[in-house]
Symmetry: C2
Subunit: 354 residues, 2 copies
């Protein structure tokens, strides 16, 4: 199989982890005899520094022409501390999601048995958890009109949904639920928000087309609580952009660490694969980042982007084997014992490749 | 001390738990020689059934005239399942918050040592946690304009903040932080939302007036994760209406159960005290609800509403003593052992009074 893959390392720890996601893809190509052709492009703070734009036209063009994109992370403390800056790294990520029509963000909460201890949640609560989030990614308060009054004393963001936006992601989520345990939980705030009432109505309609799937509707506040109280009760979770952002970060504690979670954004064309962790400027360049989320993002690219199940499985199994042998990066090591062999980013990356 | 207290039992388990919050106040009046005069009023589904309105004028009038309000819960499955209904119970709660100017919702995460085991989070992660949330309560996407297009295919809610709204709650939160461990974490989504950028700017300004308090700004997705990863790192948490709704429900797992958490809404005049749990229609009338959150709401009324510290402490200590003796309601009992004496709502209520 021949594929063109665009690598966008982005900001912070993005470059150091993406190196290993890319290396994993190269290794898979070698083993299975595929031809993966790589190109690279700038986005975020890294792109602003060079071109003044968070998403240069050249990056967008390359993205459109590629078969899949491997992305690192975005963001920089400079902008976080100065809310008045007009050009911001995150605009690059939001724009590429919109431009490529990446309306469905899949975030599987993959639980490695070996990491049950790394979580702040009790192992007996976690064991057996297997959740697949469908987060809507190109609508909601992320993309609705923003305003700031002239005196700068009033600011607003429009939380808005169109029925077709809810329908298309609902179909994807229901189809996935049919392949899994046939349970779907849709999360909204329909007791307060009109956009959530549209969301709930639409999901109720779509549900009728999937009578074999059991649907539950839950309010976001309750979901944020239930997710840690009893994660096993969830299977496919379908939710809006903002609520999905919050719930999936929260759910990273189920997997032991944010450093373990990968996500796939799909929709109209090219798929976009990235860790769910951020740019983590506090540990950038210190060889402390966990490269496994980038390697698992590569696995998602193989499986969801290219339909290469066996190749994806090899990557996931290798990560599992490395964990079984007791190797850990800092984020997933238990600080209180010496049971683990704690590795830096590069050592962990190399080990997985071996 | 003479005080007029309005009791609004509301919907679902509201009436059965509020009975015990009220009884606790009566007992305190008796012990300390205060005169608490009680009145009662309707709100939510209960009010719609009788008057057609979720917040009848009579209730609002009584509320304005009272010195404090003890509230139960709101909501009904009928409305949750039918997003097209125009008159909804929650409108009553939102309207009374707005009408009484209850802009600051204080949610202390009170950890009883005895309940460390009841949580899904590891006891060693929880031990020593003591968080006080300040949730903004009369702005945000809760109160911004709502629209639905004529073809019903587009729906929106305006997420909007005015600078003064952020300022007044920030002052309250900083003042509380000065009385506590002098750390404040403000939660927003300033990397995406304009209203959050106004929020962050404003908090940065107000922070200058409290140089003895250490301020941290955190994105909501990260906060939802950190809260369960390492709850001890938080002290005073200041956040917007929607984010506060989500974070405080999530935080209820820190306290072992939603059934243990009370909240105080304050602002321009009369204080409003309520459990953070909802109407829980699935257990209504089954003598399964936990009355402790209502009793602890009464304690908050005594302390924050009336400045009666000793009286409040007696109530909290009594709850603590009852837990120490091994008494539990269903939500906080460990199902796997027989160590606890599991009580119904009424038995637990009576026990605390004794
Ligand atoms: C960086 C930020 C804009 C982004 C988001 O909120 O979508 C991130 O948190 C994510 O979840 O991918
Ligand atoms: C019932 C609902 C409107 C309410 C809210 O979202 O504010 C509740 O969840 C709360 O937290 O008090």
């Amino acid at each position: 199989m021949k594929k063109n893959i665009l690598v966008i390392p982005g900001d912070g720890i993005g470059p150091e982890v993406t190196t290993w996601g890319k290396a994993a893809l190269e290794k898979i190509a070698e083993i299975f005899g595929h031809e993966f052709v790589f190109d690279e492009a700038l986005m975020g703070h890294a792109a602003i520094e060079v071109t003044g734009e968070p998403l240069p036209d050249e990056t967008l063009e390359k993205a459109r022409k590629s078969d899949a994109i491997l992305f690192g992370a975005i963001g920089h403390a400079k902008y976080d501390n100065d809310p008045s800056l007009k050009v911001r790294p995150e605009q690059g990520l939001l724009k590429i999601r919109k431009e490529l029509g990446l309306f469905a963000n899949l975030r599987p909460i993959l639980l490695f048995d070996e990491l049950l201890q790394a979580s702040s949640i009790k192992p007996e609560i976690l064991r057996g958890t297997d959740i697949l989030f469908f987060r809507e990614l190109t609508g909601d308060v992320y993309f609705g009109e923003k305003t700031r009054s002239e005196d700068r004393n009033t600011a607003s963001d429009l939380m808005i949904y169109h029925r077709y936006e809810v329908e298309r992601i609902a179909h994807k989520a229901y189809q996935a639920a049919q392949q899994r345990s046939k349970r779907l939980c849709s999360v909204d705030k329909a007791n307060v928000l009109e956009s959530s009432r549209l969301w709930r109505e639409t999901v109720q309609e779509i549900a009728k087309q999937y009578p074999d799937v059991e649907t539950e509707h839950m309010f976001i506040d309750n979901a944020a609580m239930q997710l840690i109280k009893n994660p096993k009760k969830f299977d496919v979770v379908l939710t809006a952009n903002l609520f999905g952002d919050i719930l999936t970060d929260e759910a990273s504690q189920i997997a032991g660490s944010m450093g373990m979670l990968a996500s796939a954004s799909v929709g109209e064309s090219t798929g976009f694969f990235e860790p769910i962790h951020g740019s983590a400027h506090d540990i950038t360049g210190k060889d402390l980042a966990n490269p496994l989320a980038s390697i698992l993002s590569a696995a998602l690219m193989l499986e969801i982007g290219f339909g290469l199940k066996e190749e994806a499985k090899l990557l996931v199994d290798t990560v599992d084997a490395v964990l079984k042998e007791g190797f850990r990066t800092h984020d997933i090591a238990d600080q209180t014992t010496n049971r683990f062999k704690v590795l830096g980013t590069a050592e962990m990356g190399k080990l997985v490749l071996k």
